[in-house]
Amino acid sequence: MSDTAIRPAAGPRLPGLSALGPLLALILLVVLGAFLNDNFLSAGNVTNVLARSAFIGMIAVGMTFVITSGGLDLSVGSMAAFIAGVMILAMNALLPAMGVGVPLILAGMVIALAVGLAAGLTNGLLVTRAGIEPFIVTLGTMGIFRSLVTWLADGGTISLDFAVRQLYRPVYYSGLFGVAWPILVFALVAIAGQVAMRHTRFGRYCEAIGSNDKVALYSAVNVERIRLLTYVLLGLLVGLATIMYVPRLGSASGSTGTLWELEAIAAVIIGGTALKGGYGRVWGTVVGVLILSLIDNILNLADLVSPYLNGAIQGVIIVLAVVLQRGKSAA
């Protein structure tokens, strides 16, 4: 929003030198972590950090497209809770009929994706057809999804049947060739996102719409459809994230996924995507997500003066990471 625009000579934000800014911040954090604790670079810790980044990561990749095309989605955290709630209730309900087994898990996954799609579609249609600001639409659905899950849970927690949970657990905890599933799926989503942004019409149109939607419209871009698609894609990715999240915790409640939206948006912006749209960088988002996870991890590695100050240190690092980025670009 502020942007360098006010200094015409400084030239506009360009993905040139500055592109490496967040990466640099990430590397510094890794060095810091390794310095603070010997186990920081152990396979276990690396797996932990990457796997837990996966949920926000997938959501943030979707968010990158929404923001790039000039939108915003505040509802993703509540949406994740809602999807998780519906998914678990559905699986519990199907259990007597289907029995504990892979088909039940698959049914749950399909339901999660379907609910995600429907939720994304709702946001998207309200934004494109009804023409309401994305901020308002998703602020509204944020409240709605969160209430619905609280109501479904009767104020408490919705839990997956224990036997089903045992079967489902490996989807979070095990993996392929020693790489945990969430990491694999996240990596796939990130790569697909990066490719989609740079090498497909969809990505190109997102940037064009965010940059100037009138121009895009004049150039035969179906602006409404692309906008709608960004929200639907995000909904699906929230669904996918939920599929990976449920085996980890096996439950959903009114407090599931609180503030995920803020974290996802922050990751996108830290990664160098412009909040006002027009330019998106998926790999930057991935770096942003990792920076945010690492900050938490590093705070746990070191013993601070007071745990009350965690938030302050987090805040300082976020700002510093972005200063680094600007610093490079100013050079």
Partner: protein, 294 residues
């Protein structure tokens, strides 16, 4: 010098009065235990959300080589598997306050009693109000434990003829409780008593009542044992006849007993339920800790 034993402590962050008190007691106890037992080390992590708490526990295992975990689960269900994994890794596990969804995971369980918390309050209402009396309830953040308390409360007043006019969520927050109570007062001509269910909320409720000038009309029961409230009970404030304990200091008990496992030969297993008792003007002095922030 022998290797230090490391105790990981994972608790929710200080987002409302009770948790603030709990955080304070945890830190004070850790400080004390560290000086008393030089061979003990502690790793404290506070979490503002379930996911973060699971992350914290994972980090303690992966990078801090903890030998024991003292955990106050943000929520029971989601923490069950991760804590179970800690147990399976051969660590000592102490669960505080909110039980896990599966029995038998923890070595030691130290908890308050949410059912008793609601029941004791309910019994006081039943004993001190006539049939047909009208009360309002402020609930906490929608959670299982809030449900337990409210259900126990309702069960306790069952059959007394007391009517609950309203039960909205005040989120264990003073400001929210203040506005909810303001609205109750606009809505209901006659209220005989308020179950605020938490001392932070009670403070907001009392302000709203005094603003409306209806102090004479009703009394308020909070919960947890905040020092300001206990003081007022001690001073026989007619508006605050009693309070129900739910001591944030239970984390200290958990930490101390866990520490025993590593400093003596006699580990203590089992369940310690710290009941909720009624603070009355008579016994208030023994619940008054002026130095605690809560």
């Amino acid at each position: 010098q022998a290797k230090k034993a490391v105790i990981g402590v994972s608790i929710p962050s200080a987002t409302h009065g009770f948790m603030g008190g709990l955080n304070w007691h945890a830190q004070e106890t850790i400080k004390r235990l560290k000086t008393t037992y030089p061979n003990l080390d502690f790793v404290l992590a506070t979490a503002g959300a379930v996911g973060k708490q699971v992350n914290d526990i994972e980090d303690m295992i992966a990078t801090r080589n903890i030998d024991a975990l003292v955990v106050l689960p943000f929520e029971s269900e989601p923490l069950t598997s991760p804590v179970k994994a800690v147990k399976e890794a051969g660590k000592w596990v102490t669960v505080v306050d909110r039980g896990l969804a599966q029995a038998g995971i923890e070595d030691l369980y130290v908890a308050g009693d949410n059912t008793a918390f609601g029941r004791v309050a309910g019994e006081y209402f039943k004993a001190n109000l006539k049939s047909g009396a009208k009360i309002v309830v402020l609930r906490g953040i929608p959670t299982t434990l809030d449900n337990e308390r409210v259900d126990a409360f309702k069960k306790a007043i069952d059959g007394s003829g007391i009517e609950i006019l309203d039960a909205q969520h005040g989120n264990w927050n003073r400001d929210k409780a203040f506005s909810v109570m303001q609205d109750y007062l606009s809505k209901h001509k006659k209220i005989d008593a308020v179950w605020a269910a938490d001392d932070d909320m009670a403070i907001g409720v009392l302000e709203a009542i005094s603003q409306a000038g209806r102090q004479k009309e009703m009394w308020v029961v909070g919960g947890a044992g905040m020092k300001e409230i206990v003081k007022r009970i001690m001073d026989k404030d007619p508006q605050l006849p009693v309070d129900v304990t739910y001591p944030p200091a239970l984390i200290s008990t958990a930490l101390e007993i866990t520490a025993l496992r590593f400093v003596s030969d006699t580990p203590v297993y089992g369940r310690f339920i710290i009941g909720s008792t009624l603070i009355t003007p008579e016994n208030a002095a023994q619940f008054y800790f002026p130095n605690s922030p809560f």
